[in-house]
Amino acid sequence: MFATRAAIRHKDLGIWQAWTWRDVRDEVVAFSIGLAELGLGRGDRFAVIGRNKPRLYWAMCAGQALGAVPVPLYADSVADEMAFVLAHAEVKLAVVEDQEQVDKILSIKDKLAALTHIVYDESRGLRDYDRAQLTAIDDVQRLGREALARDATRMTWWEAEVAAGKGSDLAIILYTSGTTGRPKGVMLSHDNVLISARNGNAYDRLDVNEEVIAYLPLAWVGDHIFSYAQSYDAGFCVNCPEAPETVVEDRREIGTTYAFAPPRIYENLITVTMVRMEDASALKRRMFHFFIGVARRWGEKILNKERVPVYARLLYWLGELLVYGPLKNRFGLSRIRVAYTAGEAIGPEIFRFFRALGINLKQLYGATEASVYITAQPDGEIYADTVGKPNIDVEVKVTDDGEVLFRSPGVFLGYYKDPEKTAETKTPDGWVRSGDAGFFDPKTGHLKIIDRAKDVGRLNDGTLFAPKYIENKLKFYPNIKEAVALGDKRDFVCVMVNIDMTAVGSWAERNNVVYGSYQELAANPAVYDMIERHIEEVNRSLLLEGLMGATQIRRFLVLHKELDADDGELTRTLKVRRGFIAERYAPLLKALYDGSREADIATEVTFEDGRKGTIAARVKIRDIKPADVSRVEKAA
């Protein structure tokens, strides 16, 4: 019924190439039958690797039509990371974006017995490759079209194949990098995906008129639901950016109405904003901060339709004209109806910042095992520190030891080829352990997540210690990119900090601090002072919140290198792998707690091109005087 509406756009060759739903159907049919010609059939697994491109989305659909199971992978993961997943999933065929991915797969080909074909989108540079197992998507589709031309029954056959698929069938396997150990293949059925998508659409009344930008990894369940399943259910248009570095402009051009992103993306927006405003003329800067102040004071109230004095509305209106509007315009968020932050807890200040601008940013608590949706915040009931109420058809309960359990139509079938793990997480009656610690807030009835269940620890004196809570507070400062808080089974709390190159870099330029590398900058005493000030503020706010007051930060250091997914310190979704880091930087930890002023550390690093090297450094450590109540009272 939306046949003539744009289903998907891709900014390619300088303009937005669009395909209507009818076009998409034709493309997919041809593609699908072409794949069948290549021998892909029901139950086969096939990999999908690359950035967000229409044809890769079609690949998934084309495969699923045949009853085959797509296995999307993170495009930027290095060859041997892929090797495990591809081998484990026994993929028969791989649909990839370009030469880069082809090369990766060829380099690990001998590990992949099942692999018969590689299908690629961009032919560039592949001219001289051995064609035997290499086919262009164009050619696959031609195969399909020829087959259709040859005998008409092909079409009926294909439709039969589609019909043969049952809701309970396996639809997709999403490998979650997980914060520890090997990736696990989460199996989702068509029902899981579709029902969740439909409920999600219903929950936020998303319809055919939405516009979304697809720029998050295909392998992330979020992208699969938000910019694949939900689009197919509601019929709205998905837009693929031209290149990673143009996402912001592309978002601005399209004007997305529905957005979703891990907190990091939002943090980044704020960092950029703050850094740029630093360079603005004094007058403009003052105006900016004044109106941001106004927004922080009244913005949320207005957004939540609360009663506010007239002058406030007036000021806010002025701010909208001078600051918020233009700002949203620059972000490309002017038309946002619903924006979710998902995947990880977001710093309250960050969250409020966007709310204050009038962007309907909401928290969503989800999991791959749940086909995303567990809880989300209904419009008008927004709290910075909760993740909202259970979504439609979702049941949530909290065990005595504080772990959150959920049950819903979206609950996964199991981990692929891993019954034990499945048993560990999924009870026979369909409840799934989220691995997160949380509780229902009596005031609001919303769920609150403190931290990963296993990360929540206690100091030796028995006080509760939630590292992520502290880390998020630190990470709100534009200068701090990443923070790792330690304290479980220790006497006090210490943090390891990653400075933000963009922010601190430009700060350095303005204050003509010379530096040659991240390492140099990180070791700079002036930088240490700056970070120290931030931490003292955090301590104060911790103290004011009472509950966490006892877990103030006593010592900190600035890491000599940026935490990097290529080194396994972050997951592909860029979550901190605390455990791994703890062993990797053992010498630093030791130093932090034995009271020494500095420590030597040598770490192995992997560069983009896969080469390995070592960085050695002597890292300084500083003590922080904990905030005491009297001082804070004064400050407050």
Binding site: R9, G14, I15, W16, Q17, A18, R252, E253, I254, G255, T273, R276, M277, D279, A280, S281, K284, M287, F288, L321, L322, V323, G325, P326, L327, K328, N329, R330, G332, L333, S334, R335
Partner: protein
């Protein structure tokens, strides 16, 4: 900050390469044109028409012409006045000798004659460059000035040497009031300006700019210097010629060669430089500035309430004008067009500085 570009995306190259890709600009310009055609006639008075609007429009046209040559193709010319004269006298003679010809055709004829002369005097540009060329174009200026002063035929043997045109009318509509003069000029200018914008955005415009920016590189991508330069001379002269004809017919009514002397050339050159080389918009801004400044300076003494002899005033006018030019060149050598562009960029990036 006025620019809210969210949701403006291009699905075709045609749209992406439109004159005003940004919706806000489109609306603004559209509104401006509508206002010029409908709003202005409602409010303007005689003085505004004859002393401000009409001169600005006609000289903008001349400025566009010179800008094509100097701004886009990089060939400096001081002969503008001469080419305007060609346009004016050619038009005069056609109207005189073939009275039944439509006024529009008369203007076009003026332009075409100027084109021919322009090509003729453009030929040297193939051998000589920069200031040498500039001075060479002075030859055109002085020769033409002289020719129209001395060759009686051109002035139809008028003893005074000055010529006058009678009652104007287009398609039977008499163009007798300043208001109608204005509308006539406006229509012609709008059309020609649009054409110019199209030219400079297309293949021809690129060949010109290529010549300007680096003639060697231009040649290796297959551009013939001859074609590029002469076409620039031709088209530039056409615009200037039409402007000349309009100046004579509409602004002056009766004139003598002095109306198109070297100072006219400089005046237009100023407009181009102050407005901004290589910008059609700049041509308009420059023209407005150069026409309005003297008017303003002229009022200045009265405004600050001191009485001076007319001579003194004109001298002071000269001084201030010269000073202004220098000042402006120091402040923004790339002219109003650049200022405009910068301002616009700031508004688009607002509140960010970059």
């Amino acid at each position: 900050m006025l620019y809210r570009e969210v949701g403006q995306f291009k699905t075709s190259y045609a749209a992406d390469q439109a004159i005003f890709p940004i919706a806000q600009d489109r609306w603004f310009v559209l509104a401006l044109v509508v206002f010029a055609f409908i709003g202005v006639p409602l409010i303007a008075n005689q003085y505004l028409y004859t002393e401000v609007l009409i001169p600005v429009l006609i000289l903008s046209l001349a400025a566009i012409g010179l800008n094509i040559l100097t701004g886009y193709c990089g060939q400096l010319s001081l002969g503008t006045g001469g080419f305007m004269a060609v346009g004016a006298y050619a038009a005069y003679n056609l109207a005189l000798r073939v009275p039944e010809v439509n006024l529009i055709l008369v203007f076009l004829f003026g332009g075409l004659m100027a084109t021919l002369v322009g090509i003729l005097f453009g030929l040297p540009s193939l051998r000589i460059k920069g200031f040498y060329l500039a001075v060479a174009t002075l030859a055109a200026q002085f020769f033409l000035e002289w020719a129209f002063a001395r060759v009686k035929w051109f002035t139809n043997y008028a003893p005074s040497g000055s010529v006058a045109v009678g009652q104007l009318d287009v398609f039977g509509i008499p163009i007798d009031t300043p208001g109608r003069h204005y509308l006539l000029v406006l229509s012609i200018v709008v059309i020609l300006a649009l054409a110019a914008t199209n030219l400079v955005r297309g293949r021809i415009g690129r060949t010109w700019m290529a010549m300007r920016d680096m003639d060697i590189a231009a040649e290796i991508i297959g551009i013939r210097p001859l074609h590029a330069k002469l076409s620039a001379f031709a088209i530039s002269s056409f615009y200037i010629g039409v402007a000349g004809a309009l100046w004579g017919f509409v602004r002056l009514g009766s004139w003598e060669p002095l109306a198109f002397d070297i100072n006219r050339s400089f005046q237009v050159l100023f407009m181009v430089i102050i407005g901004g080389l290589g910008s059609i918009l700049g041509s308009f801004l420059g023209a407005a500035f150069i026409v309005l400044t003297p008017i303003f300076l002229n009022q200045l003494p009265n405004l600050i309430g001191i009485s001076l002899s007319t001579a003194a005033i004109s001298h002071i006018e000269f001084m201030l004008f010269g000073a202004l030019i220098v000042f402006f060149l120091i402040v923004e050598p790339h002219g109003f067009a650049r200022l405009w562009a910068i301002g616009k960029e700031k508004l688009r990036l607002w509140p960010f500085p970059y």
